[in-house]
């Protein structure tokens, strides 16, 4: 065997191994005890099998993932796609619809904040796709930002921060990535560093409403309410008329209920099914000492924030409402409606509208 022949043969062997690995990457988490990790691993393996043409096996993985995580829209839609590929469109159709419904049901973040907080779902498919892209794209920041966003939207700030830092190595001092980094730092409670990141971003792009929002929240969390107010005022001046919901949120954070009212009216007209705009409208009227009028709650309002409407109408006791508030955020919303501003300011996450509004209420009282 000649040398080149030997080398060729050895490399062929290695490439067969590599191909095999690529065909069957490991999915160690499919046996994890944590249902979330296990469900996501099954989904990933299902997608892998789907791409390999092993549709029946993929269907099994998606079935198991959905069993573990019934609200896993990505797995539902992939299951539907597999059925569709097999020519079974009739059972696939309701699954496609169900996936869309699951995504739509999740409450999105406030419209005045960074866009990434309005992303819905687990984004597993996207993260996997971007991971794949990162194997081939070494000089692009997009997969890094997108992966970071997907993680941050799921509350995984530490991991997101790593992606943003890598992104900043590719695109040094990029104002958009700096602002995302600021959001990750803020979520981690590293407010001073967050303010620095936001400030660097704003230096390059001062007319960025969402970056101003991020910095304002970080300032407020640090107790520097005057600075926060400046940023929110600046943000309000930059937000276009056609974003009334975002404008209303900023006005509410400022505790400027007079400014918030007309924006809320327009937000209700634009999104009549969203219960928060009529709720905040009633809140604004109440804070301004005006009659609340008829308490109209959008049809189909979910279990939450229904109790808050009941509270404002005098049909529910504070205790009953607090009992129905199953998360920190809901509890903060309830406490705010009960005018227990000090507790809101002490306990609520600083990114909440109620937190900023409560801080402003307290500062006014002083």
């Amino acid at each position: 065997m000649s040398k080149p022949g030997f080398l060729k043969s050895a490399l062929e062997g290695a490439s067969v191994l590599l191909q095999k690995q690529a065909r069957h990457p490991g999915f160690p988490d499919v046996d994890a005890a944590d249902p979330e990790r296990r469900g996501q691993a099954l989904y990933r393996r299902g997608r892998h099998r789907m791409r390999a043409g092993e549709i029946e096996s993929a269907l099994e993985d998606f079935d198991r993932a959905i069993e573990l995580l019934p609200d896993f829209a990505e797995a539902v839609v992939s299951h539907a796609e597999c059925l569709d590929m097999l020519g079974r469109l009739a059972p696939a159709k309701p699954e496609y619809e169900k996936a869309r419904q699951l995504w739509a049901e999740g409450r999105v973040g406030a419209p005045d904040r960074c866009y990434l907080f309005r992303q819905q779902g687990r984004l597993t498919f996207e993260v996997e796709s971007y991971e794949l892209a990162l194997k081939h794209i070494k000089t692009g920041s997009f997969p890094l930002s997108a992966s970071g966003n997907a993680l941050l939207a799921r509350g995984r700030a530490e991991e997101a921060l790593r992606f943003y830092d890598q992104g900043l190595k590719v695109k040094e001092k990029d104002p958009a990535i700096l602002a995302l980094k600021g959001e990750a730092l803020s979520m981690l409670g590293r407010y001073r560093q967050a303010v620095d990141a936001f400030s660097s971003s704003l230096k390059a792009n001062p007319r960025a409403p969402e970056t101003l929002s991020g910095r304002a929240i970080a300032f407020a969390a640090m107790g520097r309410l005057d600075k926060a107010r400046d940023d929110w005022r600046q943000q309000l001046s930059l937000l276009p008329e056609m974003q009334p919901a975002a404008r209303a949120c900023v006005a509410l954070r400022l505790g400027d209920y007079e400014a918030a009212l007309p924006e809320l009216e327009r937000a209700i007209a634009k999104a009549p099914a969203d219960p928060y705009w009529p709720l905040y409208r009633l809140t604004a009227l109440k804070r301004l000492g005006r009659p609340l009028g008829a308490l109209s709650m959008p049809a189909g309002t979910a279990a939450w924030p229904r109790p808050l409407f009941d509270l404002l109408a005098g049909h529910a006791t504070p205790d009953a409402v607090l009992a129905a508030a199953t998360t920190d955020e809901r509890r903060a919303e309830a406490l705010f409606q009960m005018e227990r501003f000090k507790e809101v300011a002490e306990r609520a996450p600083p990114a909440m509208i109620e937190y900023a509004a409560a801080r402003n209420e307290l500062s006014r009282r002083r």
Partner: protein, 524 residues
Amino acid sequence: MFSVIIYGRNDSHGYNLHKRAAISFNALAEVMSDPDDEILFVDYNTPDDHPTFPEAIHDTLTDKAKRHMRILRVRPEQHVHLKSKTHLVALESQSRNVALRRSNPKNRWILYTNTDMLLLSRNEGESLSDILGALPDGFYQVPRFEIPEMLWEAAFDRKDPAGNLAKLRDWSMRFHLNQVVHNFMPMKYDALGDFQAVLRDDMFAIHGFDESMILGWHCDSNLAARLALYRGRVDTLMDKAFGYHCDHTRVAAANNKGRKTTMNSHDKYIWNVSSPYIPEQAETWGWPDVEIEEVRLDRDTSYERYTAGLSQAIEPATVPFTSTSCEWHLFDDLTYDLSHTLPFVCDQMLTYPRSTRIMVVASRAEFVSRFATAWRGMGLSGRVLVPHECRLDLDHPAIETGRYADLLRRTDLFLFEFGLASQKDGDPVRTGREASPADRKQLRIVERLFRQAASTEPATRPPGRRTPRRFIGVNVIYNKYWPTFTDYVGANINPFCSQVLAGFALEAPMTMKEKILKFRKRAG
């Protein structure tokens, strides 16, 4: 419910564009069921003397397509500031943003596609309006499938969109057309630009398409990257509809030079996108302050305007035909039939903006007054500018007289008529009539003003105008003014019967020396 946004121009972009586009326009209208739905076609940079692309093929469009279609015409003058920066004659981002800015605000969705696409709902009979109406907020794509050129060209009937869609439903299975081509995220599928359904609010929030992308290609991928950041996900609508593309690879389109194709940077506009927003164009995208003409195919059409104008200016003929002659011995006879010529003159006007101001320099007063009547009748609101120097006695509400030098800087279009001032309507035409001294005097004025206007055209444009102005010559074929006119204006060879030549002023008029050299070259 939704606004479809497409763009193009009146040219020949790719193989059998006219058929592809008619099939597509009609098929898009066919899947609309909401009265607010609209097809916004941005006609970008079609020369001013051409009609827009949909007008040029209007007879192949269904009534439904005409009802839903709004044509937004971007003039060469509006594109000229970008001309030196790109090799392309039609710009995608600018076009799509112009349409977005002017889209129906009642519509929740914007659908970006192209003029060779057919959308087929998987539930037979379900309209795209119904499909989009029931969808939650999001950013949706569908896979694109190809239709072999033979099939759409040979078997589709342009005016039978329902039949075409039915054929497609059959072919898709019979000929295995449906192959989903997956792509890297954020481009969920290959050729994603042929179906991107986006919330109108989202498009405004992210400042539209990136208008710095002026080299062609990847505008759709850039949008996908930015919307993927904004929304987090790119959703599929493949359970609801498939997109079919009329393949057109027999002839490469103008923006396709194989491996030598110039493109927007893939890295910059896809892999290094870091924000959904484009703050640099936040206030300017879609040219909010630019007046964009809107053309309809279902009302106030060019034909309606043309007939309205002419019916006010001329009476119908009372004899089966009239006659004239282009024999050489009649070369010096400058008589012509005004009623016959005016329709060919008016034919030159309808594609121009209604606000166009036209300078008319003429020998025959009757020509000017009849032309002015037709001008107003055709719905053109700009003034008809007649220089004092013409010494014509005119009284018409459309006409404004003034000093030639002043009017020269206000005019958008030139019309020079070389007739005999003494000719009256009904006089015999081309029978060997000689010009009177008064005729010759008037013709000398017209000729002098023509030479001056043509040779100084670039220097006398209205303030801010960068594109050249067109010259229209009347009675300049097979007579002594033929060489005069074409020495200064680059006009085509037209049939004598039309009496009209038109074109732009030559950069340098053809001199006598050049003519002699040309003659000697030909002779020797």
